[in-house]
Symmetry: D2
Subunit: 195 residues, 4 copies
């Protein structure tokens, strides 16, 4: 068999000539911001970065509440929902840790905001994100990348300002938005079963 | 503007001539079985059919146990895992309803089988599928189709042979296998939070 | 076997209660425009609508050139590229009908614009979209939907203002952008082989 | 801000404990063969390997024909179609280099086999793969990975046993089958335009 040449096999060629979108990095014509195409596969590193961002956001909301009060915390929680969740793309499958029927599932942004900071008479919530959280540890049992979506499952350990620890069983599902950012389209959180 | 002709817009043309794969239905050259391509988008009807199949399988295992004993139930549970879950494709993110740390997550087939029918000294399980289930009701809060994968969230209500009712909060994630069948790659089940 | 109830099987329930994203239709919080999520499966109807839009755009550019001149046609061609192609998301794999080496492939917006309307000294093009096109007929050999992407192949027949007819073999590949609109990420056009 | 711990961020933890499917590598319960899940994102390396395999297969069929005759070449071509193309999954969008209307597009396996080795009275083909090909060079203009599908475009240069060179403009689209192997679902090949 005669040797097959494939120019793409040489790194030099790939780097200098070929247009690659793996994942696609593009300069938007209008904004000059570097983004990732919505079709690009999700990487494990992106999932972990999104998890870290979620943990940081929860601590930030709790700290904002303790420092600047409910209005500032509510503003911040709204910003977190708008940047980290996919409510702008359609329903989000969200089962928070401490919800009760008939308000178990929070498929709308309003329901999610009520869960995190309370203050909505349509929901009985007192505000999960206001409980003094200061540290978040994420221990993944597994991450599965399914094309340009991804899911993760594991334990999340929350520590509050008094040192009290809460462990939850956590599932997240991620999709890309128009800027290529990961957004949470699925969030199932539950307290561990006890006998 | 001159009218644009598009032959594909006429149903007659579409039906008679064009090769369509929406979703792709194919005759396998080797098996002559009609299948759906792994790349085909998942439909809501397929998700609901997979949910019904899961409920029927749980009732079938419980009934098999009560009628024919543990060996027959274990055989059936193994068949269910091999046909309805994606353990043959990689890890499955499975958090069953009643598991305890450090065996909370069952990413392997062995761990899942132990949960459903017990009998594995490496796991403390007594067999969730052996608890006399006779009826399953599924009430979806939402289904989201993400290309050729899908997720669902809602309540599942289980009734046993004595009429006792158990409600769980349930998330499922689905992928297609090589025959186009939906398989569960994600399963998070939890008892509702109680104050 | 006891009958399995599945509430989602009743149309009334689905219509009134469940959050469905099949495909996801959402109100954007900021714009109030109804869009489709980037993750939603592509439908055959969307592919055909995108093909019709491409044909209409080609006729529109040609007519604009004949009516209002090269500047107006160039502006319109730029708008078409920005709305119908995926150059804003990364490279586009574009092999136009009449290009010559070493400018065969036009993976950048600049190269595509030069092909359609000429006027770029870096490319030898005289402007394919300026050739008096008045009618476009699209005859698909096949459409394949692959999750939230899609491809089509077939003949496109172009008729100019003098009644001259050009037939090309055409492949298009589509992805969704952040607003859910289909964009051309792949376009291979070639004159039929002749002996 | 208190430091966020994320156990998955430590390589040791990832390697020892977590179930990862990026892409999913699995032991099939029935065959013990290591495969990749159909849902796993496609990598650039896989696209290039599939391109090399296509080039090797074309040279192998041509060499088989010159050495062992048409029957052996036809057998080999059939094997190549069954292993490298997606005809077993649905229609394949295939526009070969040298086909004429009304047989331009070969969406079925039969039409593809006729193109490569001839011998089918329903098609006018004399057998493209029988033309003495001895060397294949692939020069990609671009590769775009779209989740668990991928497309490539570029030039393919074919050299026959007499040293004659043929250059074609080539587009390939790839999907995964049930074993995770890439298969060609799209193939548009055309001779370069000449003035």
């Amino acid at each position: 068999m005669i040797t097959l040449k494939i120019k793409t096999a040489t790194a030099a060629f790939l780097a200098s000539t070929m247009a690659i979108a793996v994942p696609a990095m593009a300069q938007h014509a209008d904004s000059h911001a570097t983004t990732i195409a919505a079709y690009a596969p999700i990487t494990q590193a992106e999932v972990e970065a999104a998890q870290i961002a979620w943990g940081n956001a929860l601590v930030a909301i709790a700290t904002e509440y303790d420092t600047n009060g409910i209005e500032a915390a509510t503003d911040l929680a709204g910003q977190v929902l708008d940047s980290a969740y996919a409510y702008g793309m359609g329903p989000v499958l969200f089962k928070p840790t401490l919800t009760l029927a008939p308000n178990t599932f929070r498929t709308t942004r309003e329901g999610a905001l009520a869960y995190f900071v309370g203050g909505n008479s349509a929901y009985p919530d007192t505000g999960f994100a206001l409980k003094g959280w200061r540290e978040v540890e994420i221990d993944n049992a597994g991450i599965v990348i399914t094309g340009n979506t991804a899911i993760s499952m594991g334990n999340v350990t929350l520590t509050d300002s008094s040192g009290n620890v809460t462990v939850v069983d956590k599932t997240w599902g991620y999709v890309r938005d128009g800027q290529g950012n990961l957004r949470i389209v699925l969030h199932h959180s539950s307290l561990p079963y006890t006998e």
